[in-house]
Amino acid sequence: MARLPVRKTYKLYVGGAFPRSESGRTYEAEGQNVARASRKDVRDAVRAARGAYPGWAGATAYNRGQVLYRLAEMMEARASDLAAVCSGPAEVEAAVDQVVWYAGWADKLPQVLGGTNPVAGPYFNFTIPEPTGVVALIAPDEPPLGGLVSRVAPAVVGGNAVVVVASELHPLAAIEFAECCATSDLPGGVVNVLTGLQGELAPVLAAHMDVNAIDLTGVEGDGAELERVAAENVKRVVRQADEQSPWEIAMFLELKTVWHPIGA
């Protein structure tokens, strides 16, 4: 007997699992029922990200790179599914290429962004980049997959854990991308995807005291109110995405400088 297609409701991706919104709410986008996350889902997602952060940040750079290469492979394996929820195969291919490109940066960042500092005195002094912590990303609407990947990849490769608010208009690419994350070796909680209304979710993330940085690329309008509430814990605010580059990764990094005397 042939199987009957059932119209299913898509879920959130939090801590490596696919829960429904605790509110039970959904909304319709791209002809599908999609979970409409609540502020409690935001709380859960931030908690999952914070929990995953030390392990991911503490993994070797080589390992983080390998895991992201694997993510690119998973995306490639699902290329046709991904193509169906974005502008097409070309967008998928570009997104896969971008994940590969950023994956390669994992073990090169300190060499490009850090260095030793020639201080005047008998001290060895060096500066290294480190992840900022938990990063909130508001994904842009366009392109549905490429826009999302262009924010997630640079934030994650540096060792951060992220909470992504999917495009309200095009959430299906984010949901499909979450499937790729779940089947890669990315530890649960490193990438968390919330679907729902940006106007509901972004302010909660911007004000959240356990979020260290927020990327407003996908925000409608000037984001002034989000920036204002972000000041409460001196969040790093990225107002607008730039081109693919290591500087995009640096947006989500801190710089640590270490001094030690030199002596016999």
Binding site: N117, Y123, N125, G223, A231, V234, E254, L255, K256, T257
Partner: protein, 492 residues
């Protein structure tokens, strides 16, 4: 039996070591009776018509009358800076910009004794610190960034660095000239012009610096100095024609500034407060560590954002460290900032003294045990004894809040993990110190401490080549080094 013990009382050791006064001559500095605003290369009367008196915190004597810039004055200063940016400075050959900065560095060195005395008079810091730290590092900053001015494309390969425009800079009172140098040197090297607001209580070295700009032949409007209080700073932050705000000061004001620039395209860097842990393991070279603890918290009366204000001592050496620390504190000389023997000078202002006093009272009230050496304090001026609190719980205000004074809170730990957890248990993340002879542990700790600067077996070291700045609520952006250039450049 040791020789000393055998000698008994035959050769009595002196009971106290007294130091004869060794004051630095102050006649090398002559302040003008009144200082207007420095706008467009000229000293102008404030349109606000407001003036205030700036004093020496050590004696409360009046030093000079200083203008208060208000909205209109700030507007004129920003216009002057914009004008200088559009008409010459930003298009000047980078090598020429460098020459001005080299000149400023040379002149500062040449006049360093004068500046050091002025700094100690107006801020209350000991002359040996203004002479040996503030002045040489200020000049070094100008030297360092002068060299970058014509090498920016090598600092940022594959990007095209361009200046931002007009930078509004607001600096604190703890290192008045040094913070000016940290702000102005990279801004100018990158081709920006600046409007700088010194702290309300310490405007004098910034105003003397205008004379250095004149001597160096710096084009008018490239550097503008507007004095005043928080209102002046707020005017500068809100001015629509300012492209960048750089602020060093309290976390509270930093948050206000971040809110104020929200929704604008202004670039922002914040260097805010701290509550640094200075962590001493039981294998540390103890006498060096004691010196590091003393330097960490009593340098500049503890009025240092990166001060090592929380001492974390491994339990096994706790008694020993506290005994040595108290003994060392008894030898600190507190008094006249202009005396070359002085270790701890005056607190910068009455307000700051009140804040320290209030927090110290809260420490006693919450149950911590206080120790202060028996030093005599001058009668006039703002003074606070070097203070150490033991029996401190992490929840006490003195373990959580930035005191910005010579007050140390001591906590203990057993394992490296516990040290990391306690050190990171703060909203701040500016600096940290680690004392141990074990190299692998230093690197292990350095990896885990959430702070922008980690000093291992040293503390409170600064250098123009070394990036400085915080994690978490200690702010964002770096000052110093190649990274310090980024705050003053655009790449689009």
């Amino acid at each position: 039996m040791s020789d000393v013990a055998k000698r008994g009382t035959a050769v009595p050791a002196p009971l106290a070591w007294d130091y004869a006064p060794a004051p630095e001559a102050r006649d090398i500095v002559s302040f003008e009776a009144r200082y207007g605003l420095y706008i467009g290369g000229e000293v102008v009367e404030p349109r606000s018509g407001e003036w205030y008196s700036t004093i020496s915190p050590a004696t409360e004597e009046h030093l000079a009358e200083v203008a208060t810039a208000r909205t209109e004055d700030v507007d004129v200063a920003v216009q002057a800076a914009r004008d200088a940016f559009e008409n010459g400075w930003s298009s000047l050959r980078p090598g020429e910009r460098a020459k001005y900065l080299f000149r400023i560095a040379r002149i500062l060195l040449e006049r360093s004794r004068e500046f050091a005395v002025a700094e100690s008079l107006n801020s209350g810091k000991p002359i040996k610190e203004s002479r040996d730290v503030d002045l040489p590092i200020s000049a070094a900053h100008f030297f360092y960034y002068a060299g970058w001015a014509d090498k920016l494309e090598y600092a940022f390969p594959n990007r095209s660095p361009r200046p931002l425009g007009v930078a509004g800079q607001i600096i604190p009172w703890n290192f008045p000239l040094l913070m000016l140098a940290w702000k102005i040197a990279p801004a100018l090297a990158c081709g920006n012009t600046v409007v700088l607001k010194p702290s309300h209580t310490t405007p004098l070295t910034a105003l003397l610096f205008t004379d250095v700009c004149r001597q160096a032949g710096l084009p008018p409007g490239v550097v503008n100095i507007v004095t005043g209080d928080g209102r002046t700073g707020a005017d500068l932050v809100r001015h629509p024609d300012v492209d960048k705000i750089a602020f060093t000061g309290s976390t509270e004001v930093g948050k206000d500034i971040q809110r104020a620039v929200a929704g604008t395209r202004k670039r922002l860097t914040l260097e805010l407060g701290g509550k640094a842990a200075n962590i001493v393991f039981d294998d540390a070279a103890l006498d060096q560590a004691i010196e590091g603890i003393i330097n960490g918290i009593y340098f500049n009366q503890g009025e240092v954002c990166c001060a090592g204000s929380r001492l974390l001592v491994q339990e096994s050496i706790y008694e020993q460290v506290i005994a040595k620390l108290k003994r060392r504190m008894e030898t600190l000389r507190v008094g006249d900032p202009l005396d070359k023997n002085t270790d701890v000078g005056a607190i910068n202002s009455r307000e700051q003294l009140e804040r320290i006093t209030e927090l110290v009272a809260s420490g006693e009230e919450e149950g911590a045990e206080i120790f202060q050496p028996s030093c005599a304090l001058p009668e006039r001026g703002f003074w606070f004894r070097p203070t150490v609190f033991t029996n401190v719980a992490q929840s006490y205000r003195i373990a959580q809040e930035e005191i910005f004074g010579p007050v140390l809170s001591v906590l203990t730990f057993r394992t490296p993990d516990e040290a990391v957890e306690k050190a990171n248990n703060t909203a701040y993340g500016l600096s940290a110190g680690v004392w141990t002879e074990k190299g692998s542990r230093i690197l292990w700790m350095a990896e885990r401490l959430r702070a922008g600067v980690v000093w291992a077996n040293t503390f409170n070291r600064f250098d123009p080549a070394s990036p400085f700045g915080g994690y978490k609520e200690s702010g964002f952006g770096r000052e110093g080094g190649r990274h310090g250039l980024e705050a003053y450049l655009r790449f689009d």
